[in-house]
Symmetry: C2
Subunit: 131 residues, 2 copies
Amino acid sequence: MSRVNHLDIPDDAYDFRSRCSIARSLDLIGDKWTLLIIRDLMWHEKSTFQALQRSEERVPSNILANRLKRLVELGLVGKTPYQDRPVRYRYALTEVGRSLEPVLLSLMAWGHGNLGGGQYDPSTGESKLPS
Amino acid sequence: MSRVNHLDIPDDAYDFRSRCSIARSLDLIGDKWTLLIIRDLMWHEKSTFQALQRSEERVPSNILANRLKRLVELGLVGKTPYQDRPVRYRYALTEVGRSLEPVLLSLMAWGHGNLGGGQYDPSTGESKLPS
DNA sequence: TAGAGCGACTTGCATAATGAAAGTGACCGC
DNA sequence: GCGGTCACTTTCATTATGCAAGTCGCTCTA
């Protein structure tokens, strides 16, 4: 059970572009949707496919399915059935997934300061919308 | 000269997906290459097209040209000629561009802790490579 | 027992982005 | 002239994105 890292990624399963930590991170989460899905799982109590699909940005269902599958394979998200007949699933961040919170916070701070975006306070659940 | 934010983006020039700061940030820098270019400008003294092209990850020249153009338009990077005959350009982060450093640092920390990537210390210029 | 509906996807298909490779144009030194 | 450097462009095949519609299992109501 030799692993190259702390995730479920087996040796040789993922060929990173380089040894740079930033490049490796971007290989996994460097796109327009993945971190928004993680945001909703982290702070907005969205745990089902349906709920995640109804986020403000309206992620297309095929992209959402693809990203969730990927995140589960990578070990950032867990998927467990919460009922049978018909089977329905709940998604939740793993500890490794939750450890992305500082990345979300720094992106939020930058966007709030420079792009006029809203700011969300995870501790209170309140958000200040832009003027 | 009404602006919607602190960048050179005029009102209506950029239609963000949503008012979420994270979504807005990802609209600008949410891809596999942009933050690597910013990393090189920020920490690795790369300032010419040629130097940026020769980074470890080997960004394709058309992508590099596209991203630099975009970053200049957005006001994250400045472009100035440093010689005529023939004209040659130097790229450098603006203050807004430099303010992305915490984002790079948090991504680096996450990748270092979870993906076995190397860690770079901007203050000393030294990097610890993965085992 | 025949729909109607829900949740979680999947499929089809057109458009857009990516990336490898080669090409262009200004100039300089030999 | 001739080769080389730098800063890009262009071409074109491959891949990703995204809208819309469809599927599948099952339950609930008429």
